[in-house]
Symmetry: C2
Subunit: 274 residues, 2 copies
């Protein structure tokens, strides 16, 4: 038996039992060094952990369709608790509220919506950006000191991390990305991938600027079977900022299958200082 | 003294006192018929109400920068309660969780982030769509039976509500919009305007389709002073869908000042049936 993938080790949550008379319960987890960012864990692994907490509750119904994660404060290396509560279950959708705490401090809040999928009229209006095939693009990445970035095979076709101080006129980054160890995609893995982009302000300013995601929203466009069909293949991920102003900017991004299917739309608000 | 504007009447929240030992408190409100949608209230007025609940708490710090509202279930005409909780206050940001309930049922959940604004490097990358000036566009709207739509002066420059069964190849709508009674913009009013678009699936299918917003996220790009400068002028609002698939679609939209300043970016996931 092979040892679990670092992603699954980071998402290992231990039940603590549901308190009597309480509709919510709490699970316990622990940060994993393989997913460390400069300070605390990679935002994507936190998003994945919260989604996984809801998805593994015995009462869950449907696939995730929307997830918002608010990074309220830093997460220290070590143990944390996640409280998960299904606040409303309808015929087609189920709404969750989640909170990650360390001691008395709330570090992260989240809401997740799960839903049933049905056959309907369908169309995709936006198209994937042009990009050479992943095997024609050299593997790149972020700084070697960023542990979580080593977990991904990243191949930038546009807007790699600036390393020579040159500011770009565009904040757009496009890259092929997949799990470096071949772990197949599932919803938590997709939620994590939606935070794979280094801050857009780095590209516009030509280097490092203090920046951190405040709030991250993801809409999932595939169901569990559609996601399983993608296996461990690359996704094409493109991100751009809309407006930088007075300490904040917003980023919109899309993740595409190799066949050009829109897999997720994801947006975030980022704090920066420059 | 003039009677309050219907927007302010809808947002009238009555404190109930903070329970001893509880960090959250509850305020009470009531739906207002001027903001009725086909079933229950306009989603925008619910978003505005939740934001207003946080913004009027005595401990609030900063301006709203991000808001996510999850429409978990229908809101019946009549009284409701909003529980508001500042879960974390940092030097630059403050995180809120909010919940709208009727009896024991959670109808809406929300998270809001407030933040301080500072002078920083600034740039806007995207540009407003071309549009004739509002006084050159005839006033339009939605069906006369939709009460809330009468509260707005809407002037469609692209993608008005389809009335003759013609399906459009594009889901894009662009309109000038302002409060019909000249109420100046503030953050709750801007939050409401972010939900002003009729469902994109109507445009693509050429008519009415059962559809409702599940989750709405807005990023505010202006501070309170910048918003006050806009007064009661029109905003240019454009929205499009990215992908329609298996019962859901996502919408991305932007609201612009007449001078071409990006005022808000807003995204939503919508349930539909066709």
């Amino acid at each position: 038996m092979s040892s679990p993938h670092p992603f699954d080790r980071a998402l290992d949550l231990e039940p603590t039992g549901e308190p009597a008379g309480e509709p919510a319960d709490t699970v316990r987890g622990r940060t994993h060094p393989a997913w460390a960012n400069m300070v605390g864990p990679f935002g994507g692994i936190t998003a994945a952990t919260l989604l996984h907490a809801a998805a593994t509750h015995r009462d869950v119904a449907g696939d995730p369709v929307a997830l918002t994660v608010n990074f309220a404060g830093p997460i220290a290396d070590g143990a944390f608790s996640v409280t998960r509560r299904a606040v409303r279950t309808n015929r087609s959708t189920q709404h969750w509220t989640l909170q990650l705490t360390q001691g008395d401090a709330v570090a992260t809040t989240a809401t997740a919506v799960f839903g049933a999928h049905r056959d309907t009229w369908a169309d995709t209006e936006i198209t994937a950006p042009p990009a050479p095939a992943p095997d024609q693009v050299p593997r790149g990445g972020l700084a070697d000191s960023i542990a979580w970035a080593q977990r991904y095979d990243m191949r930038f076709t546009e807007g790699p991390l600036p390393t020579d101080g040159t500011a770009s006129a565009s904040s757009t980054t496009t890259l092929w990305v997949r799990d470096a160890a071949g772990r197949p995609l599932d919803f938590p893995a997709l939620a994590a991938l939606c935070d794979v982009f280094y801050p857009r302000v780095f590209l516009r300013r030509g280097g490092f600027v203090p920046a951190s995601t405040i709030s991250l929203t993801t809409y999932f466009h595939v169901d569990a079977a559609g996601l399983a069909d993608l296996g461990d293949d690359y996704l094409l991920a493109d991100a751009h900022a809309n407006r930088f102003s007075r300490g904040y900017f917003d980023q919109s991004a899309h993740l595409w299958s190799r066949a050009g299917q829109l897999v997720a739309s994801t947006h975030q608000l980022v704090y920066f200082k420059t």
